[in-house]
C-alpha cells in the first residue's frame, strides 16, 4: 500500500472547491508519511485540469476518461475508483463528504471491503496510524476512529480543511487509467432534469449562509434574507418551520432533516434554534443570530447575539454593507 490519494470532483468542465480542500488534507498527511499525493480525475476530456491539481499539491494525477463519464453516475464512478484501488493499493483514500461523495462512499466501501470513516473534520498521524475525527449526534460529540485493516478510507467534510495556496507551474506526473467496459454499467435513466435555473450558491459549498426562520414573518418578507445573502455573496438557508410552511424549498433547509453546513459565517435571522436546527449548523466558524428573544437557544451558541427585530435591522445592515463596499472601491 502506498500513497495518499484523493478523488477530484468535476462539474461543468471545472474542478470543484472540495477537490482542493482534499489536497490540503492529503498534503500534510503525505508529508508526514513521506508518501506522494495522488488524485484520481474522472470525466470526459478532463486531462487538461491536471495542472490545477498539481498547483494545489498533487504529485500525480490519474486520469480516467470516457464519454460515458462526462456526468456523475455513482455506480460507474465507484467502479472506476474501485479499479484504481486494485491497481494502485492506496494507503489513504480521501473523498468529499458531498452530495456525490456520499453516493459513492458506501458502494466503494463494499467494493474495497473496508468500511469508511465519514464526515471527517480532522486527520492526525499518530504511530503510523491515521486518526480520523468526526462529529456524531449532530455534532454534540466528536469521535476519533482508525482503520484497522488495509486502506484508510475517509470522507472529508466540506470547509473543514483549508484550500492550499496554489503554486502555479508546480510539476506533476499524469497517469492514465484504462476504463474497463464493466465500469460503464447504466442501470438508471435520467428522464428529466427540472433545472431550477438558479445561479444561487449551493448551501453546502457557501462560505457564508444567511438563514431565516419563522421570525421573518412570511414567504414574501423572505426577500429581505435573499437581499442580505446577495449583498454578502451568501447562500440562503431556512429553518424547518419555514420549509414546512411552504415559504422556502427543502433544498434550503438546514438541520436534522435538511443539510449540515459549516460555513465561515452563519447568520440566523428569526430562527429560535431548536436542537434539530443546531445540529445542522453549530460547527460554523462564526454564528451571528438576530432574534427579538434574547433567551432563544440560538442566542446561546451565537458568537454575536443581536437582540433586535430582523425586519428593522437587516435593511440597515444592507445599507452599511453597501457603504463598506463603496469605501473599499
Amino acid at each position: 500500500m502506498s500513497g495518499v490519494w484523493t478523488v477530484a470532483e468535476v462539474s461543468d468542465g471545472g474542478i470543484k472547491g472540495i477537490s482542493f480542500e482534499l489536497l490540503g488534507a492529503a498534503r500534510s498527511l503525505a508529508n508526514n508519511l513521506a508518501e506522494p499525493v495522488g488524485t484520481v480525475l474522472i470525466g470526459h476530456e478532463v486531462a487538461n485540469l491536471a495542472d490545477e491539481l498539481f498547483a494545489h499539491g498533487a504529485d500525480r494525477v490519474l486520469v480516467a476518461e470516457h464519454p460515458a463519464l462526462a456526468s456523475f453516475a455513482p455506480e460507474r464512478h465507484a467502479r472506476v475508483i474501485g479499479d484504481f484501488a486494485t491497481a494502485y493499493a492506496p494507503q489513504v483514500l480521501l473523498i468529499g463528504h458531498t452530495g456525490s461523495g456520499k453516493e459513492i462512499a458506501g458502494r466503494l466501501a463494499a467494493r474495497l471491503d473496508v468500511s469508511v470513516i465519514t464526515d471527517c473534520v480532522a486527520l492526525q498521524l499518530v504511530d503510523a496510524q491515521v486518526r480520523c475525527t468526526r462529529p456524531i449526534f449532530g455534532g454534540s460529540m466528536l469521535t476519533t476512529a482508525v482503520a484497522t485493516k488495509g486502506i484508510t478510507f475517509a470522507t472529508i467534510r466540506p470547509k473543514a480543511f483549508a484550500r492550499p495556496a496554489p503554486a502555479i507551474g508546480r510539476p506533476g506526473e499524469v497517469l492514465q487509467l484504462a476504463v474497463s467496459a464493466a465500469c460503464l454499467v447504466a442501470r438508471t435513466e435520467v428522464v428529466e432534469v427540472v433545472n431550477e435555473t438558479s445561479t444561487a450558491i449551493s448551501l453546502t459549498d457557501a462560505e457564508i449562509v444567511c438563514a431565516g426562520g419563522r421570525g421573518v414573518g412570511s414567504a414574501e418578507k423572505f426577500e429581505l434574507i435573499e437581499r442580505l445573502a446577495k449583498e454578502l455573496g451568501a447562500a440562503v438557508g431556512a429553518s424547518r418551520a419555514v420549509v414546512d410552511a411552504g415559504w422556502r424549498p427543502h433544498k434550503e433547509q438546514v438541520g436534522q432533516t435538511g443539510k449540515t453546513v459549516s460555513p465561515k459565517l452563519y447568520i440566523a435571522a428569526g430562527i429560535s434554534g431548536a436542537i434539530q436546527h443546531l445540529v445542522g449548523m453549530r460547527s460554523s466558524d462564526t454564528i451571528v443570530a438576530i432574534n427579538t428573544d434574547p433567551e432563544a437557544p440560538i442566542m446561546k451558541v451565537a458568537n454575536l447575539a443581536v437582540t433586535a427585530d430582523l425586519l428593522e435591522v437587516i435593511p440597515k445592515v444592507i445599507e452599511e454593507l453597501k457603504i463598506l463596499k463603496g469605501a473599499a472601491v
Binding site: 458502494r107 468500511s115 460529540m141 436542537i275
Partner: protein
Amino acid sequence: MKIVVCVKYVPDTNEPKRLKSDLALQRNGVQSVINPMDEYALEIALKWKDADPALEVVTLTMGPEEAKGVIKKCLAKGADRAVLLQDPALGGSDALSTSRTLAAAIAKIGKVDAVLCGIRSSDGDCNVVGPAIAELLDWPQLTYCKEAQLDQAARYVQVQREADGALEIVRAALPVLLTVTKCAFEPRLATFKGITAANKKELLVWSLADLNLSANQVGWEGATVKVMSFSEPPPRPAGQVLSGSPAEVARKMVEYLHTLKLV
C-alpha cells in the same frame, strides 16, 4: 411484490447523549425513536401499499430488544411484517458490516423488489449504508428521493430526486434501492385500529445463525474501523450581545464582521 424498508432505532435528538465505559451508547432511560428519515422511506412504501393492498411491506431493523417498540409503531402504521436482527455478535458493527448484515437479511427475506432506506441516520450520520447495501446486492441505487412511483406492471420505479441545484426525474428497473430524504408530505400516524392490528402481525427475530454470514464478517470482529475515543466538542466561546437602535446595532454588526474579515 415485496418491499423492504430499513428502519433504524435511534436515540431521540432531544435527549442528552451519554456513553458507557465501553464507549457504547447509554440507552437505558433514553427515549428512542424511528430514525426521522426512515419515517419518510416507510411512508413512500405505505403510499405504494395504499394503491395496491396486495403489496407486501416488510421492515428490517438491526438493534436491541427495546427496538421492538419502534418496530410495532411501523406495523401499526401499516407495514405487514417486521424482521429484527438481534445478536450479541452484531455489537460493534461499523458502517460496512452493518450494511453486510442488512444485505444478508434482505437476501434471506427473498424475492425483494425494492429496498427503501432513509438517506442517513440522526445518530451515526454516515450516509453510506443504503448505497453499500445496493453494491452488496449488486443493485442500482436512486438517492435523495423526495417522491417515488412504483410501476408494478412495467417493473420499474421512477423518482423525483434532489440533485445538486436541480430536481431530477430518474428511473430504474427493479430490483432497486432507494434512499429517501425529507419529503413534501408528512409521514402518517398510526390509527387506533392499526395499533390493535399490529399486535397480531409477525415480528421475526433473527440471530446471526439465521443469516448466511460468519461471525468474523460482522460486529467487533468484522469491523475494519475502530473507534478509539469520544470527546466533547470544544465549547463555543461566550458570545457578545448587541442591542440598541436598529441603525446602531446594524453598524456594530457590520463592524464586527469586518474585524473578522468576513465582509
